[in-house]
């Protein structure tokens, strides 16, 4: 009785599939990482702009306090998203923090900007839009 003729084709096909999978996973994580960096840069810019406006006497203490209460929520979500991206494993769903972060950014850009001086509003709105766009782009892509 003869031993069956060995074939490397199935193993080769499996390895090629693994290469494609690994490449796709690395690219997806990179997409999340870029989004996390954009969100962080925008949130930090919002904080700096708001602090500068407050230091220049353009905001009242109450406005400053109220804005920072929501900013704490946004920064906390941003940090959680960043942590999730660091630990993200292939096959895991899109981090859920993104949806909550989008809601928080929306609240900052609508409710909390009302009543602020126009120049401060314009400056903060621009940075909020950048963060909002980054979050929305990943959500719409669905991590594909």
């Amino acid at each position: 009785m003869r031993t069956p003729r060995p074939s490397v084709v199935p193993i080769l096909a499996l390895l090629v599939a693994l290469v494609f999978l690994a490449t796709a996973c690395a690219a997806k994580r990179h997409q999340f990482a870029v989004a996390s960096q954009t969100v962080a840069a925008s949130l930090f810019a919002i904080q700096d702009a708001e602090n500068a406006a407050y230091a220049a006497g353009k905001l009242t203490s109450a406005q400053h306090q109220r804005f920072n209460q929501e900013l704490v929520v946004a920064l906390t979500l941003g940090r959680e998203f960043n942590t999730v991206v660091r630990e993200w494993q292939p096959g895991a769903p899109v981090p859920t923090q993104l949806a909550a972060l989008r809601a928080s950014l929306f609240k900052l850009s609508t409710e909390l900007l009302i009543g602020l001086p126009p120049d401060v509003q314009i400056q903060l709105q621009a940075t909020l839009n950048a963060a909002y766009d980054a979050v929305l782009a990943v959500l719409l892509a669905g991590g594909k």
Binding site: R2, V72, N82, R86
Partner: protein, 68 residues
Amino acid sequence: MPKMTAIEALQWSQVVFQLITIGATTYSTVRQSMADAGFEVDDARLVALEAEYGRRLERAKAAAEGRE
């Protein structure tokens, strides 16, 4: 147990050699694709962001509580 001829043994040794070559190539390709995707660079940046978030949150909390 079936007997293995010299030719069959040679064929199997070729398969083993090919598998080792394919494995090494696959490993190298995956490593390269991860490097191309900025995997390690991303890691370093995300770690730095974590620390920055901590500092920023402390400042925002102080302002939110009227301590600033």
